[in-house]
């Protein structure tokens, strides 16, 4: 029962905080002389090297995150706070024999002998190179938070079963079990088949809940909209996993359908081969783009609606903006689950295609 109440409160927060959170952000932005909605939206949608929470009296309050770089001199690490919230390449940090600046959320290493960054007409640094950046960014940080939450939820649920003698799902297990059974009965079984689905269950369950929880976290603006599942790097990685599993579990029948389609004349077989071959790659690419575009689009719409207030510079637009973004937020809550479901069911579908037996 306690868990039920908690999840109700959690859902309530999801509904209330979008407005509160964005309003605070907007107030912060308003103090700038010129409001640039594009920059504000991109700042929210893209990754960042620090966890910016709020601006108080033009002073940004943020959680510093570690910056990890692989440079010519080896691994270089320092905290993002050393840039003092600078994002225009002005503050130079000297570490491990290299000079580093942060410009538009990218870390540049100055070339030997340079003391300041110089830009060309298109605002690209000319005298600096980009080292390999594996920093723990805002998105990585939120990903780890989500992983902790997932592990907490599901191992707690698993413990409920271990403790009860007759496998009765109580507490959080009662919340988790229908979802797990849904993934099994509505996604894995019909898509892969009764006999082979078991192998793919851990992957499908993990990917479903991993995407879902990060979609939800992306909607909580008090976390400053860490937009992990709307980041193409994230969706790309998951799509690559699906692609690898599909490719490596492909049986003879699967490859035959790609390289030598049965049941069609020979010229058609030759014609279909390149199409099917491209299809191997378009499937995971569509997975990657679908999730990324859906989640990012939702964020952009909400942020754009809020920006209307500051573009028109009148409070009169506020009710409309708030109402519309509330509406979109509610839709987004549904979309969080739908997109996780679609990614999972399509992955399952591809696994099913790869393992399908020849039928006569």
């Amino acid at each position: 029962m306690r868990i039920g109440t908690l999840s109700a409160v959690f859902l309530g927060l999801l509904l209330v905080f979008p407005l509160a959170g964005f309003a605070k952000d907007e107030e912060a932005e308003k103090s700038d002389k010129k409001f640039d909605p594009n920059a504000m939206i991109m700042h929210h949608v893209k990754d960042a090297h620090e966890f910016h929470i709020i601006d108080i009296n033009d002073k940004p309050v943020s959680i510093p995150l570690p910056i990890i770089l692989w440079t010519d001199n080896g691994l270089t690490t320092f905290m993002s706070s050393e840039f003092h919230h600078d994002d225009n390449g002005e503050v130079i940090v000297e570490k491990n024999g290299g000079k580093f600046v942060k410009f538009h959320e990218k870390i540049y290493q100055l070339n030997e002998g340079s003391t300041t960054v110089e830009f060309d007409e298109k605002h690209h640094p000319v005298n600096a190179s980009k080292p390999l950046d594996i920093s723990v960014t805002r998105n990585v940080f939120m990903m780890w938070v989500s992983v902790l939450v997932l592990i907490l939820i599901f191992t707690t649920a698993a413990r409920v079963y271990r403790r009860s003698e007759d496998n009765v799902p109580t507490g959080i297990a009662g919340f988790v079990e229908p979802l797990v059974v849904f993934v099994r009965d509505e996604i894995a079984k019909p898509m892969i088949g009764e006999h082979k689905y078991k192998r793919y269950m851990p992957y499908l369950l993990t990917i479903f809940f991993f995407i879902w929880i990060n979609n939800i976290f992306g909607l909580i603006p008090i976390l400053n909209g860490a937009n992990l599942s709307g980041n193409i790097a994230f969706t790309c990685t998951l799509a690559v996993f699906t692609f690898l599993i599909t490719t490596f579990s492909g049986n003879k029948n699967y490859w035959k359908h790609i390289f030598w389609m049965p049941g069609v004349p020979v010229p058609m077989k030759i014609f279909l081969m390149p199409i099917e071959l491209i299809g191997i790659f378009t499937k995971p690419i569509s997975l990657m783009i679908r999730l990324f575009a859906n989640i990012t689009a939702g964020h952009i719409i909400i942020l754009a609606l809020m920006s209307l207030i500051f573009i028109f510079e009148t409070v009169a637009v506020a009710p409309i903006s708030v109402l519309f973004s509330l509406f979109i937020t509610v839709i987004e809550i549904v979309v969080t689950a739908i997109q996780a479901y679609i990614f999972t069911i399509l992955s399952a579908l591809y696994f099913g295609m790869a393992t399908e037996e020849e039928h006569h």
């Binding site: 991109m42 949608v45 893209k46 990754d47 990890i68 538009h104 390999l132 950046d133 594996i134 920093s135 723990v136 960014t137 998105n139 990585v140 990903m143 780890w144 992983v147 997932l150 592990i151 599901f154 191992t155 649920a157 698993a158 079963y161 271990r162 007759d166 496998n167 799902p169 297990a173 988790v176 079990e177 797990v180 059974v181 099994r184 269950m201 851990p202 992957y203 369950l205 993990t206 991993f210 980041n231 193409i232 790097a233 994230f234 790309c236 990685t237 998951l238 690559v240 996993f241 990324f292 990012t296």
Partner: protein
């Protein structure tokens, strides 16, 4: 177009994190949860099966009971019928016997009566004859007690003869 350009750092961390998450959840969450769910489904299935079996057994038992009851009823009916027939047989036999016995007795009685009657009649006849002889003797004795009367009688008799 930073937005659609996957950054290496995030790809790197996502891959590592996802694999670790997959490993942990697979071992500590999915296995026990799915195991428990399928175990329960199995137990529900067997429980339903055994309930079905019990129901069938019940039906069999009921059918058996009904059959036995029917048989018992038929047996009872047969016994009753037999008893009734027996009773009727006995009664009719007894009646017959009684009737024939009665007839015989009546016949015997009739025969006895007839013979008694004959004997009685014969006896009466004999007694009447004796009585008549006695009376006749007495009358004759009386008549012939004195001379006068004897003479008269002879006279009378002689007179009768004359008339003839």
């Amino acid at each position: 177009m930073d937005l659609v350009n996957p950054g290496f750092g995030l790809v790197f961390w996502t891959a590592i994190t996802f694999l670790i998450l997959l490993g942990i959840l697979r071992k500590f969450a999915w296995k026990p949860i799915l195991g428990a769910v399928s175990e329960r489904e199995e137990s529900i299935k067997t429980a339903l099966q055994s309930a079905e079996d019990a129901k069938k057994e019940m039906q069999n038992l009921q059918a058996d009971n009904e059959r036995i009851l029917k048989e018992a009823r038929a047996e009872r009916d047969a016994m009753l019928k037999e008893a009734r027939e027996l009773k009727e047989g006995i009664i009719s036999e007894a009646k017959e016997q009684a009737k024939s016995e009665g007839d015989k007795m009546i016949k015997q009685a009739q025969a006895t009566i007839e013979s008694e009657k004959k004997a009685a009649v014969a006896d009466i006849k004999a007694q009447v004859a004796n009585l008549s002889i006695d009376i006749a003797e007495k009358v004759i004795k009386e008549e012939l007690s004195d001379k006068k009367k004897q003479e008269k009688l002879v006279q009378d008799m002689l007179g009768d003869i004359e008339l003839n």
